[in-house]
């Protein structure tokens, strides 16, 4: 039986949330970030802390779970949590100001430090988390295809897509350069310091290859008829799941609710 390649390159998703159209998800991401920034201004408790950012992060975790993202997504989130924890502790213990909350030996916690720590760490977690959700449920080529469908010029779409794909190319090039250096007897394995030392000489050839790569890419595109001004055909079709309107409506209602709540709080205080 003849293989249907066009069928095989299509992206199929069984999860209803993950299957939302990329632009709908992008709208949700934008609204979520907006809500995070609004919620971050709400201060509660006697220490006036932005504590509402903490349950908001629960929404991201919930989204990740119900969207059935891969293990890789959770690993990225774990790394972000570690980074946020560092930011939190640095802020908490290093920023003086406001009321003294706690002191043990040389460690002192001030009101200002806790506020800043929670604000920065959870804003980061919320924003990074929603992006993880977006990129774990949407492939780059889907995003670009959807953007092109919504009127973005094909040249701009290509630049965006090739920028994303460049990460793969650069990592492969860096491996090639490292192998070449290894073949010349340069130590590339060992402790962290040794690895950093080995990586520095990789940077220059890596960037030079990237620059010459741009010229090659221009030629490749020219031979592939990229500059022919005509309506482009697309083998990849990104379909709408049919739930986009509901999803965007729920996100918009939540945003309006949060915004209204924030305005009411302003009047009440």
């Amino acid at each position: 039986m003849e293989t249907n390649y066009t069928e095989q390159i299509q992206i199929y998703k069984t999860n209803k949330i993950a299957a939302l159209y990329p632009t709908a998800k992008l709208i949700i991401v934008v609204l979520y970030i907006f809500c995070t920034l609004v919620i971050g201004t709400v201060r509660i408790t006697s220490l006036s802390l932005p504590l509402l950012l903490i349950p908001e992060f629960g929404i991201v975790v919930f989204l990740l779970i119900v969207s059935e993202i891969s293990k890789n997504g959770y690993n990225i989130l774990k790394d972000i949590i570690k980074f946020a924890a560092i930011i939190f502790f640095v802020q908490v213990f290093l920023i003086p100001g406001g009321r003294l909350v706690f002191r043990i030996f040389f460690l002192t916690l001030y009101e200002e430090g806790i506020r800043s720590g929670i604000s920065l760490a959870f804003t980061l977690l919320n924003i990074a988390g929603i992006f993880i959700w977006f990129f774990q449920t949407t492939e780059t080529k889907e995003i670009i295809r959807a953007l092109e469908d919504s009127g973005v010029h094909y040249k701009a779409a290509y630049i965006m897509l090739s920028t994303f794909q460049m990460i793969d190319v650069l990592s492969q090039n860096s491996k090639t350069i490292l192998n070449a250096q290894r073949a010349r007897g340069i130590e590339t394995d060992g402790n962290l310091l040794l690895r950093i030392k080995a990586f520095i000489p990789v940077l220059l050839p890596l960037f030079l290859t990237a620059i010459t790569g741009v010229e090659e890419r221009v030629l490749a595109l020219e031979t592939k008829g990229f500059l022919v001004e005509c309506p482009k055909t697309h083998l990849l079709n990104v379909k709408r799941s049919g739930h986009e309107a509901y999803a965007v409506m729920v996100a918009a209602l939540c945003t309006i609710f949060i915004l209204a709540g924030r305005v009411m709080l302003c009047f009440l205080s």
Binding site: V169, E216, A220, G225, L227, E229, L235
Partner: protein
């Protein structure tokens, strides 16, 4: 046959170079023929190919005098549409990659997507090109994970699929094994039967001798010889110009030194076989 592409008084300097890469090139190439371009490294073969494709000076910049006409129209008049007329396979197959496609199938199909080909016709055309170049089993592999030879066949497929009238192949077999090299030349032969014009820069003179209709010899940027393939490739001074003559011609020239005479120096294996058969036949009698 009519002249499909013509170079008039071409001299070209790469940017910042004091020495011309091409000097006073005047040539008209006929439609439906296979042209072999031969010359030592740095003789101007790739620059000439780039010139015919319009990369010189549009992409490489530099100074160009003279003009190149495609079907009696200056190349510059074609703009992006030149991709439909002339297919180009690069010496380095990595250059042929778009960098945005995840599979070989999509990479080969990309040219057709760009020229707005009918979506229903794309897959059969891509499959046909992949079958010709023996890469069908790689269809769903990532192009970045291919070997040099596989990449070179992918590059050729992505040009064949666009079915241009002229194909310029710059050392398209440099990373291929003998069997795949032979396959590429068989594709070239089939293209000739479809009345396509093929310009192929190669070092493998044995294959050029077998498949090309005419050869162009480049030396230090000059087109020093052009024309009858038998006459040029059997010349004993070819080696002094940085071109290794075909094995058959080398052997025949050597035999000539030992007093064995030939009506004409063979340049292909078949011709050599005929000559040897004739010699043996005469000897018996």
């Amino acid at each position: 046959m009519f002249s499909i592409i013509e170079c008039r008084n071409i001299t070209y300097y790469y940017p910042l170079s004091r020495f011309p890469a091409l000097i006073d090139i005047n040539i008209a190439l006929e439609a439906g023929k296979i042209y072999g371009i031969l010359g030592a490294n740095g003789s101007g073969k790739t620059t000439f190919c780039s010139l015919l494709r319009g990369f010189v000076p549009a992409f490489y910049q530099g100074t160009l005098t003279g003009e190149v006409l495609l079907k009696n129209k200056p190349l510059s008049d074609y703009g992006g549409l030149l991709a439909k007329e002339i297919g180009y396979v690069f010496q380095n197959p990595f250059t042929q990659l778009s960098g945005v496609k995840d599979t070989v199938f999509e990479e080969v199909a990309y040219g057709l997507e760009n020229i707005g080909a009918d979506a229903d016709t794309i897959e059969p055309r891509v499959i046909q090109a992949m079958e010709k170049t023996n890469i069908k089993d790689l269809a769903l592999k990532n192009p970045l994970h291919l070997s040099g030879g596989q990449l070179q066949r992918t590059a050729l497929a992505s040009v064949l699929v666009q079915e241009p009238d002229i194909l310029i192949l710059d050392e398209p077999t440099s990373q291929l094994d003998p069997q795949e090299t032979r396959n590429v030349f068989d594709i070239v032969k089939a293209l000739k039967e479809q009345k396509k014009t093929v310009i192929i820069a190669e070092h493998k003179t044995d294959l050029i001798a077998e498949y090309a209709d005419e050869v162009l010899i480049f030396e230090k940027g000059r087109l020093t010889n052009r024309g009858n393939i038998n006459h040029i490739l059997s010349s004993p001074d070819l080696i002094d110009r940085g071109v290794l003559p075909p094995q058959a011609a080398l052997l025949s020239n050597k035999l000539k030194q030992y007093g064995i005479s030939f009506d004409s120096i063979p340049i292909t294996y078949d011709q050599a076989l005929n000559v040897i058969n004739r010699l043996l036949h005469t000897e018996k009698r």
